[in-house]
Symmetry: C2
């Protein structure tokens, strides 16, 4: 369940940021698509917005904890998510699947623990293709 658009815009404003076209557009795409996207992915959906501005918008959203980041294969994937969950990404085709998060961590000597679980694998259809190639 991702935060409502309006709620996000309000958080931005409260934090002293202007509600600009690139920021709104990035929020809208992340709200609409239900899976993690790279800055380049977002730029493909929003070709009229400069890639640098997309990066800057994503930076702001991440700093405010409105968006989360996951790093896979030297790329950062961003997504909006108030209730924690994880994703598994196919190494071959980039297909993404959501997974509920049931984890809590209690670790000696640490407080305020946050976790990021990155799962990668090969999805069924890629596995089939790869088998056929051999």
């Amino acid at each position: 369940m991702s935060k409502h658009r309006q709620q996000i815009l309000t958080s931005l404003k409260q934090a002293g940021y202007k509600l600009t076209k690139p920021r709104r557009a990035v929020i809208d795409i992340l709200t609409k698509k239900q899976h993690p996207l790279t800055a380049a992915d977002i730029h493909r959906y929003l070709p009229s917005i400069d890639l640098a501005s997309i990066y800057r918008a994503l930076d702001v959203l991440t700093k405010l904890n409105i968006a989360q980041v996951e790093q896979v294969n030297n790329s950062s994937y961003y997504y909006l998510d108030s209730t924690l969950h994880h994703h598994i990404i196919c190494e071959q085709c980039g297909y993404k699947q959501c997974l509920p998060c049931k984890h809590t961590f209690n670790i000696n000597n640490f407080v305020n623990i946050k976790h990021q679980l990155t799962l990668t694998g090969i999805c069924q259809s890629c596995a089939i293709k790869l088998n056929q190639q051999q």
Copy 2:
């Protein structure tokens, strides 16, 4: 507990790879240092070996599951570890603590699943300092 040097060299050989100077050197550094290193880190220890060769050696080691990778801040950190484990990093001071990994994941529709768990938090001594400041 990391695989013994000799054992690693044998695995390489068995997999049909030559035992070259760059490969040996990378294995030695990863064995010696007890924490995750970037290719650039390794190159700093081994300036006479070309960075590209370090990347190629790390690739081989990762493919053979001799080394593992973790991505943090757009850099890949490599380490040798036969028994999987994770790390928790203090957000304040960077202190790292190792954690055993007891996880296996079975996910519908995916095979060859690898996971990377990144934990961050505040370590005890930083938590104390932060409390005193307030």
